[in-house]
Every structure is written in structure tokens, then in C-alpha cells.
């Protein structure tokens, strides 16, 4: 499958990171265009007029937006290389369900912890733990043989989303002073995330710790300031 592939992304965006990981897993050659989100390029605005967000994948001049939509497109277009979604419709439904859960429930809950303090933050932290418990039980139920990755296959869509949601747990600990991944409470989730972040592909795509910590601290203080205003 030939064709020019350009990814418009942002170095700290977990959504952008997901697409990068998918491209790397498939071994697809691509160009990367870093976007300044305070000064978005004309191209980005033309390619994603509806949301004006990253990531956007441009394949032979044709844009695709929304990270999960992009990853399914990648899987369907580049059929050589490891599969990002399983073949069986029921297994695919499971992956899409858990991906949706991670995105809509867990990711949002973690984001709430970042944006709040005091009592509101305490409630947000409690909610993250509730979601992690559901995820732990879910892996036990849906993937009784172990998580898709630990089964020995290469990273798939679900692994990529788990990685982009929970991979930064050490950074969350440092900036928020909260430890989410308790190996005693969530053994399956913890071992899955730990295995994922050690992969060379993932390490390659992970920006330096101090840089992300710095940005997260800045983001958090901006959110808190504007909430207090």
C-alpha cells in the first residue's frame, strides 16, 4: 500500500500518540507535522473543519479525523502487518466496547482529577478507582486467558488505548500525588500497563518524563486558575 501519509499531531496529546503507535505497529512510513494548538495551521483547519483538533491523518491528500476512526482506517487500509482489531465480529465488539469504556469513562475521570482540587478532586479520584475496578473485573471476564497483549500478540487497538490512557500513571503520581495503579487492587490492569510501557515501540513514542510533567503541571494550574476566576 503506497501513498503519502502525514500525521498532524501534538507531542503531548494522548489521542495523537494513539495514532502514532498504530502507524508504528503496522510499520507504516509517515511524516509528522507538529501542531501548535494555540496557533493551528491552515492545513489542520482545512482538514478538520468540524472539530479543528489533532490528530488528523492525511493519506494521499485525504484527511481522516478522530483517533479511533483513524486507527480502524489504518487497520482496514494496510492489511499487511499485524492486525489492530481481531477478525471475529464478537471479539471486535468486545474491543470496541472496552475502547469506548476507556475513552468515555476512565479517560474522562482521570481528566477530572487533573482539572480539580479539594473535595471535587477527591470525588474524581474515587470515580477513577471505581472505573479501574470495573476494568479489572472486565478483563477477568472478557479476557480470561489474560489481556490481548499478554496473550503474546503484538499491540492492538485496545492495547494502544490502554497505553494512552494509563501509560502516564507515573506522571499522574508525580503531578497529582495520586497513585492509581495499585498492583494489589488491580493486578491485571497494572501488569498489562507495565508490560505495554516497556515495549520498545512505546518507549520510542514516549516524550521525556520531565517535559510531560512540566506541561501537565502547567495545564493543571491553568484549569484551576480559570475555575477560581
Amino acid at each position: 500500500m503506497a501513498g503519502r501519509v502525514v500525521l498532524h499531531g501534538m507531542w503531548a496529546s494522548p489521542y495523537s500518540k494513539r495514532v502514532e503507535l498504530a502507524l508504528k505497529v503496522k510499520g507504516i512510513e509517515y511524516e509528522y507535522a507538529e501542531e501548535d494548538l494555540k496557533n493551528k495551521s491552515e492545513e489542520l483547519l482545512r482538514y478538520n473543519p468540524v472539530h479543528k483538533k489533532v490528530p488528523v491523518l492525511v493519506h494521499d491528500g485525504k484527511p481522516i479525523a478522530e483517533s479511533l476512526v483513524i486507527i480502524e482506517y489504518i487497520d482496514e487500509t494496510w492489511k499487511e502487518g499485524p492486525r489492530l482489531l481481531p477478525q471475529d465480529p464478537y471479539e471486535r465488539a468486545k474491543v470496541r466496547f472496552w475502547t469506548g469504556f476507556l475513552q468515555q469513562q476512565l479517560f474522562e475521570a482521570i481528566f477530572a482529577v487533573i482539572k480539580t482540587d479539594g473535595e471535587a478532586q477527591e470525588r474524581a479520584v474515587k470515580e477513577v478507582h471505581e472505573k479501574l475496578k470495573v476494568l479489572e473485573e472486565g478483563i477477568k471476564g472478557s479476557y480470561s486467558g489474560g489481556s490481548p497483549f499478554i496473550n503474546g500478540n503484538s499491540m492492538g487497538l485496545l492495547d494502544i488505548v490502554v497505553c494512552s490512557t494509563l501509560g502516564a500513571h507515573k506522571i499522574h503520581e508525580e503531578v497529582l500525588g495520586v497513585k492509581f495503579l495499585d498492583p494489589e487492587k488491580y493486578p491485571r490492569v497494572t501488569s498489562w500497563v507495565t508490560a505495554l510501557v516497556e515495549l520498545p515501540l512505546v518507549k520510542e513514542a514516549t516524550p521525556p518524563l520531565e517535559k510531560v510533567v512540566g506541561l501537565l503541571q502547567f495545564l493543571r494550574s491553568s484549569f484551576l486558575e480559570s475555575a477560581a476566576a
Binding site: I64, Y73, P89, Y90, R92, A93, R96
Partner: protein, 219 residues
Amino acid sequence: MADEVILLDFWPSMFGMRCRIALAAKGVKYEYKDEDLRNKSELLLKMNPIHKKIPVLVHNGKPVCESLVILQYIDETWSDKCPLLPSDPYQRAQARFWVDYVDKKFYELGRKVWSTKGEEQETAKKEMIESLKLLEGELGDKPFFGGEKLGFLDVAIVPFSTWFYAYEMCGNFSLEAECPKFMAWTKRCMEIESVSKSLVDPHKVYGFVLQLKKAFGIE
């Protein structure tokens, strides 16, 4: 081996209606179970312990939850008849993008239009019209979002139209006047049997919304 297909649903649910249309379009025989959401059945709680919500498709005892996950499952499992997603990956991505857009925007806007007042309601009405106009742009000159035939995006959006009468009554505005092209599309969809037999009467939906407002103490 005969397939056992059950749909756990709630009659005014737009998300449930999506699944009904897809199953009808594919000619799949299934058992419809209407849930009382204030008194959820054991089956629902067992099949969707995580969200405890409808719709849930139970296929030979195995549950599939979340309407868009269900739609794709139906499309991939009963793939011989009436494909909902196109075969070209780029067109598939476009359909998924717009369905994602509808889910992100519509439900919340709809809820605000029927349940709020004053400035919040006015803003929601305005944004709803803008969203519909954006979708009209995506439709273009095609009879359906899927082209000549009903597709994934058509099936995902058309159930919302059963709630339009309720939005118009609660919001005191006319969607027909603002978005005639969109309304013409909904009428075209209603001419298709799998759609018309799966959608509920908008007047009944309005009655349901009035009950909800009363129950929540909203004027």
C-alpha cells in the same frame, strides 16, 4: 443451528431504534424485550453489568452493548444482506466520523432543548440547527448519507427524528423551517419499511417527554 437473537430495549430510545432498523434491514428474526428502566430485568443487569443500559443485543447468549458497537456487530455478522458500512475504507472512516459527531453533539443538545429554559435552551436550539445544517452539507445531493441506499449514518441518525416533534414543542421552534433538506431526508427514510416499522410515533415520544418533565419537576 438456529440463531437466538434478543434485543433488550426501551421503546422511545433512539439508540434502541438504531438496532431495530439494522435487524429489520438484514431480515434477522429476533425477540424484542421492552425494559422498564425503573425496574430493570435480571437479564439486562446480567447482560450489561457495567452500564446497566439498553440497548443490549444478546446473540446466542452472548451480549453486545452500546448501540454503535451493536450496529457494527450486526453489519459484520449478517454481512450477506444490506451492508450498512461501505466497502471502501475511506468512506467507512467518513461514516464513522459523522456518527461519532452525531453521538457527541445530538443527544446532549436534544436533552437541553427539552429540559432547559431561557438562555441555555436558546443556545441549545441554535447549536442543534447548526448541527443539522452541517449534516445537510454532508448529505449534499445524495438521497441518503449512504448514497443510493440507507447506510450506517442514516441508521444512526434517523431515530433522532422521532424526538424532533418533542424538541419543537418544548423549544417553540420549527426544525422543518430551518432545515428543510434534513427533514426531506427523514421523510425519504420513512418510506423504507425497515425504518418505518422500527421508529415510534413522535407524538408518543412527546407524551413521554412530558411525563419525564413532570417526574423531574421541569416546567
